[in-house]
Symmetry: C2
């Protein structure tokens, strides 16, 4: 079977112009509990913010179309489809382009984050549905993975975290070299930079999209901690060291810009909340940036403003989103212009 790479496709960076943003409406009541309404308002806030810059489609369950439409307003499209949960970064397709007007998509095998959610049959299909709606050529991955587990620079380099990608709950027996080869086949990636560990208590087992991302070729933004008693501080320091000494696919030494994480804060279930400024969405001309009512918010806005010169920084209070385990990047999925 022809791989995407053989067909001339590669995954573009997130700053490549978009034609649309895809999202999924919060619906898993077991996850959100009495925070569901707050989550919906916050997702709607993100959707409306993105819709100032590019079209947005919200996938939502059939019986929730009316309520969602009311909250979203007329600036956001709604697509009715069965879903189990609402993290379009992970269950949606990773779109590809071939540089000649062709749009492709990797449909990842999704197993409920390593079997943590047995009811994931709809979410295991939604990536294909979205890709088909976008009229993309769909390539089904044999790798079990989620979109939030990989970042690319669009010039041959990827960032991943070992604890998620090599976890036995997803791809037992696979080695780094196996993954490197598959990411080459699927995303056109020639060099994979491996980080050892992700965010504390991250249910995804450590998605890269809460600890590091590319800002442009050769430049990475990484989460840091200035709270010395934070058990995550040494983990993040190690990631930053690895990034600083890494070379990308073009042979460049990476420049690393750091953003300080808020102090450790626990959710109602006692687990640490994922409060990461790295988990933003790049819309056309804008950065949709989560804030956490934390003293570090202003510094994060400032760093992002400087890194993404000329882009509008739109802050979104993400306090009601993080209760579900993710932030803004987790709930969005860009469809690049082909």
């Amino acid at each position: 079977m022809t791989t995407p790479q053989q067909a001339g496709f590669a995954m573009p960076a997130e700053w490549h112009p978009h034609t649309r943003c895809w999202m999924a409406w919060p619906c898993r009541t077991g996850l959100w509990g009495d925070k569901l309404e707050g989550a919906r308002a916050a997702y709607a806030d993100v959707a409306r913010a993105v819709a100032e810059f590019e079209p947005v489609t919200m996938v939502c369950r059939h019986d929730e179309v009316v309520d969602a439409s009311l909250l979203l307003g007329k600036g956001v499209d709604v697509l009715a489809h069965d879903i189990d949960d609402s993290w379009m970064r992970d269950t949606g397709p990773s779109f590809l382009i071939d540089g000649q007007g062709g749009l492709g998509a990797v449909h990842w095998r999704f197993n409920g984050y390593g079997g943590k959610y047995p009811d994931h049959a709809n979410d295991a299909e939604i990536g294909r549905i979205v890709a088909e709606r976008a009229r993309a050529q769909v390539f089904t991955s044999d790798l079990v993975l989620e979109g939030g587990a990989v970042h690319v620079d669009g010039e041959g380099t990827a960032l991943v975290v070992e604890t998620a990608v090599l976890n036995a709950n997803r791809n037992p027996g696979l080695t780094r070299a196996d993954v490197d080869r598959r990411l080459f086949d699927l995303l056109g990636v020639e060099r994979v930079i491996w980080l050892p560990e992700g965010h504390e208590d991250d249910e995804t087992d450590g998605h890269v999209d809460v600890v590091a991302c590319f800002a442009r070729p050769g430049v990475v933004i990484a989460l840091a901690s200035h709270h010395e008693t934070d058990p995550m501080a040494p983990v993040l320091r190690r990631n930053i060291e690895i990034l600083k000494s890494a070379e990308d696919a073009r042979g460049r030494r990476l420049e690393v810009v750091t953003v300080p994480a808020p102090a450790r804060r626990r959710g109602p279930d006692g687990r640490r909340l994922v409060l990461s400024y790295i988990n933003f969405y790049l819309a056309n001309g804008a950065v949709i940036l989560p804030t956490f009512r934390a003293p570090e918010d202003h510094r994060a806005v400032r760093v992002l403003h400087e890194v993404f010169e000329g882009r509008q920084i739109v802050q979104i209070d993400a306090a009601d989103i993080v209760l579900g385990g993710g932030v803004i990047h987790c709930i969005t999925q860009q469809q690049p212009a082909a």
Copy 2:
């Protein structure tokens, strides 16, 4: 007695570079009630945001220095002094410059917003105290007014609202021409543009700084309402028409950029909250912009981003500030570089 104008002083526009921002710590328990802690957290948020761009001094009562310092962090200076309330825009001095390194200040006569607050003896003095701390030459105004009642473009034009400035509770018997003359003497203003009415239920009787401000010479930002049932919609439309047909001191027709107001929302006392995106603070290189958890937030961010090209827009959730009657411009006062 020499007027500021005779001494060569004039009030610069707010985009003139600042050496410092002055604020006052929330303290009037009768005003804030059980919202005092929320207000303090929000004021601290504003102070820390501004402190990313310029020095900030927070004036606070002697017995609240420790608590305030803890919330403000080490990036904000604290000055202990008696105050009655916490609206430095209104009780602080309006600083002047003479273009030759001299700093002046108008110390307004303050009467508790037309006698609404009988206990205002400390606040009636704080403008002079701040001006002296800043080593400004102090000019005491015979006009009863507050800083939030006047906006200038730094090139001879001022914006004011009739219902505040000509109110019998402040300056009984004064005519427009009287005020024009005094603003010339005090601020060096050659042309005053008069708007008939301000924001609904504004306790200040209609400060201009919630309905219109200059963005740069020749360009005004005005609050509009797209909610057709909003009783304020015709008022704001009329202001905009007047602004559009006005000429400034240099003979320019004003360009008017509008920002939509959120829908009418009432506070616990039944009065309409002043939810105005016009009431931002211009820090060096930044716009400290209030947001209100309203659908209009994103549009406001976008408009301000476009108007103030190159400035960083820092959003602040102002929900806990507006309960006291003002927004971000109301609680800040810039000290311009002399």
